[in-house]
Amino acid sequence: MRRPAAWAAVLLLTGSAGAAEVTPLWALQFMGGQHFFEGRSSALAGNIDVHYTPAVKFSDRWTLLPTYAGSYSGTRDVQELAGGGTLFQDSMSHGLLVKSVHALGERWKLKPSAGAKLELLRETVDEQWGDGLFDYRKWSGGLEAEYDQSKNAGGRFAYDFYQLTFPNYESLESAADPTLARELAGAKVLDSSNHLITLGWWSPLPAAGRLEAAAFINRRSFGDQPVVKSDGGLTGTERADTTLSLHVETAYPFTVGDAARAVGTLGLSYGSQSSNQNHFDARKAVFLPNYYDYSQWSLSPQVSAAFGESKWVSSLSASYQRRTYSNRPTQDGNGDYLSEKLSLSEITTQFAVTYPVAKNMRLRFQTSLAWSDSNMQYEKVFRYNYKIANYMMGFSYEY
């Protein structure tokens, strides 16, 4: 690298000299509770989430945001209990994301970022931290450009590259005797390289409303997961998925006389996945092309309100989500494939109340109920039809 270019790079990374102003940002939440699934209740357990960002403002035009995000989860929210909650004990994650925000002129910001994350999951009682089958590591780097049309309206465009690796997960096939494995069998079948494009827009609406929209396009390449062919063997082509996610949300504040002040939000999402991977069900000797392709949409209304002079804030939310697999047939109770395509519907409701007990600190109680419904009747290895409830209480602190 020539010297001027090197200096330019240093300046881009370090910005102009000057006294730096550090603003610490804290967000801490502790919640404890239990869930109930088909008459059985989990043990009481707690969840902790910590976010800490010592924001360093070097100048009006350059701010550095190093963020640590950590969590421990001993019980899960109902949204996380897919499949009825089997095979889960607890998890923790540690992530570091460094984001550099550079103001370019009056309207543009450029935000390079880099991050790393480690998530550890213990799925049996005696499993040690770090031995979890689905432990994963993530490395990411990206660049985002933001355009502020006005104080309350703007847009952003970002490209991120990230790698997901599952260090403890290797296919059994690759570990078996060679005579028991298919040709071209991969070992690190879950590891992937991802290209993520993000588009976002936000804008005010009449009568104090707010609109936010975002689109995420993710191209995922699996380096060691060969595509399955129609006879159950493997091809030399590796799996690649493309996922699309669109989300629009509006929010409106309103009052009910002097009795209540409230904010209502409504979110609408659409998502889809397209994959070249197929599936061969060895149990039924049936080939299922494009097994992972699906589309889904969801609707999420929420109302948060404070009543009269009370400091309690109550919120009621619900979400309806429906996913349809375009090529995956449903199965009867014996696992025999039917002509209908697999679809899953999920309804989640939550009621929560918070109360400020000190500056920046709120007590919180929430209870949730979720229904999962599907045309899939074969549930021996995964639950598609179930109800689940939970309650959690704790506090949050934000500074």
Partner: protein
């Protein structure tokens, strides 16, 4: 220590000289001056002829007609002579219309927050925007105007602000906010978000909000990435690749099919497939495989051949049947191996009393087997029933027989259902001419055609096969070690050579709990039993003298065992 008289005189003189100056200064003082500037802010003087913008400096007076603009992330604070303050946020432009006694500002774009001291009755404080005007007598409020001047808001922190637009006006109270847009009437007040923080704190709050927003944007992308990992884990669960076994250990399970197994001779490869089931636990690896060689080359759609592998109902003989099979279980060190060769079809017909077994390749090779042989002893009446599908006899009580026990359950592909074999049916199954069961390479059981019968193909094992057992005999003992009310069975085979082979079988739920016998209450037919069995997992633990204390521990879905013929 007190002042001297001379000192007092000097002091009084000085005070007497300064008081008029202070008084005069208060008369001449500018009503609005710049109190603070942060970032870039500029002023355009009304009296200047060149219409140019100049840098705004702290202490500069701001006269009526002067216009101020602030750069992005900048701020200008104006101090009024009564102690009131006006904070102009970044990206704003405002003009002072009047400075005394009325204080009237015009906000063209951006945000202006006003901290207004109690006014004299004869003066007023007003902020006008292109769409609406707010007037107060002592309060804290903020007004904002969009860049195109077509929308704006009023957010009141303290006191009451009168907001006027067109012909309408309304009072907006502390904690309330009103948004207005061009062409829209003034809406009702809604909860506001402005605070009554001092300007410095307010700025900090703004900065913090912006920082939090940046952090939040980063976290939203993190959530998208985390969802990708979650999706992959979910897919593994949906495909049933992880289960919990009877000991509470996680078992990873992989099942797949290998076409054209390379270990076979080249001429057999097109006719063969291998089903592999792999189990991995924290400290062990077990596997099961079933390799079948058919009578002809297999089609691309393997299910066409496999559908009839255990037998087929109908007058027409199946196109595909097994020529041989090998079934292995291992913990990578010990092994159990079952091998069968000489596969051929057996045609079975039933007249309600007897089963008639025929060899399609040899018209002279036939058997007639009584379907139900009744015996009565002091213990009651028993039925020795022949099962033509499994090629075995079972002895059941009269009550069990009356309830339908012992009836031959067959799969009727035309109706896609299981049913009992009836007198009008023709059924085809595959029989083998030789079979061996080996543990660590030692033969424990085997059979070949009974040479004394002069036949080539075995039709019914009980009549046509000649068995050999290790040490010349085998004695089975069955137990229910966990109690008679749960589905844990043990069978121990005592061979004549003094060795034993013990197989513990568990029917268990997804989370590893042994199923109750009651789950199978009322099920009398084989097909109903299988239907129920398919809802559970199956674990089989094999121990043998040859294993020297080790075991083979397999968790397999019953469907695979039924298909492979291991479970009848």
């Amino acid at each position: 220590m007190g002042l001297s008289n001379a000192q007092r005189r000097v002091g009084l003189w000085t005070l007497g000289a300064l008081l008029p100056l202070v008084f005069l200064h208060s008369l001449w003082a500018d009503p609005v001056v710049v109190n603070a500037v942060r970032g870039s802010a500029e002023i355009r003087r009304a009296r200047a002829q060149n219409n140019k913008w100049y840098a705004l400096r702290k202490g500069s007076p701001v006269k009526p007609g002067d216009e101020i603009r602030t750069g992005k992330s900048s701020r200008a604070v104006l101090k009024l002579d009564d102690g009131s303050r006006v904070v102009l946020s970044g990206g704003s432009r405002a003009k002072v219309l009047e400075s005394s006694p009325n204080r009237i500002f015009a906000l063209a774009v951006g945000r202006m927050k006003s901290f207004v001291k109690k006014l004299k009755p004869t003066s007023k404080f007003e902020v006008r925007t292109p769409l609406a005007a707010a007037s107060v007598r002592g309060t804290i409020f903020e007004m904002g105007v969009g860049e195109d001047g077509k929308d704006g808001y009023l957010d009141v922190s303290r006191g009451v602000v009168n907001l006027a637009q067109g012909g309408r006006d309304l009072d907006v109270h502390a904690g309330e906010r009103v948004d207005f847009m061009s062409g829209w009437p003034l809406g009702d007040p809604v909860p506001g978000k402005s605070s009554d923080d001092a300007p410095a704190d307010e700025e900090k709050t703004d900065d913090k909000s912006a920082l939090k927003r940046e952090v939040g944007l980063g976290m939203s992308k993190e959530a998208v990435m985390a969802a990708a990992a979650e999706e992959m884990r979910l897919a593994e669960y949906q495909e049933g690749k992880t289960l919990i076994d009877v000991n509470g250990d996680r078992v990873r399970l992989e099942e797949y099919i290998i076409r054209r197994p390379q270990e076979l001779a080249a001429n057999l490869q097109d006719r063969a497939f291998k089903l592999v089931v792999l189990n991995e636990r924290d400290n062990r690896f077990d596997y099961f495989y079933y390799r079948g060689v058919f009578n002809q080359a297999l089609p691309d759609d393997l299910s066409v051949a496999l559908n009839g592998v255990r037998g087929q109902l109908g007058a027409a003989a199946p196109d595909y049947y097994l020529d041989s099979y090998e079934m292995g279980q291992s913990n990578t060190r010990d092994s159990v191996l079952d091998q069968a060769t000489g596969g051929h079809l057996v045609k079975i017909t039933y007249d309600g009393t007897n089963y008639y077994l025929e060899d399609p390749t040899d018209a002279s090779n036939t058997r007639t087997i009584l379907a139900d042989e009744v015996t009565t002893t002091v213990d009651g009446t028993f039925h020795k029933v022949y099962d033509p599908v499994g090629d075995r006899f079972v002895t059941i009580t009269d009550a069990q027989f009356t309830a339908g026990g012992g009836a031959a359950g067959v799969y009727d592909a035309s109706q896609d259902t299981f049913r009992t074999l009836t007198s009008a049916d023709t059924y085809w199954r595959t029989a083998f001419n030789s079979y061996s069961h080996l543990i660590n390479g030692n033969s424990k059981q085997s059979y070949v055609p009974d040479g004394s019968l002069g036949i080539t193909n075995i039709l019914a094992q009980d009549q046509d096969a000649l068995y050999t057992f290790a040490g010349g005999s085998v004695f089975p003992v069955t137990e229910t070690p966990s109690g008679s009310d749960v589905l844990h069975n043990r069978i121990t085979l005592y061979y004549g050579d003094g060795t034993t082979e013990t197989v513990n079988t568990y029917i268990m739920s997804d989370d590893g709990k042994i199923g109750p016998v009651s789950a199978f209450d009322g099920l009398t037919t084989g097909s109903a039993f299988k239907d129920q069995l398919l809802q559970w997992n199956y674990e089989q633990v094999t121990e043998a003298t040859e294993f020297q204390g080790r075991k083979i521990d397999l968790v397999v879905e019953p469907k695979i065992l039924i298909k492979s013929g291991l479970l009848k």
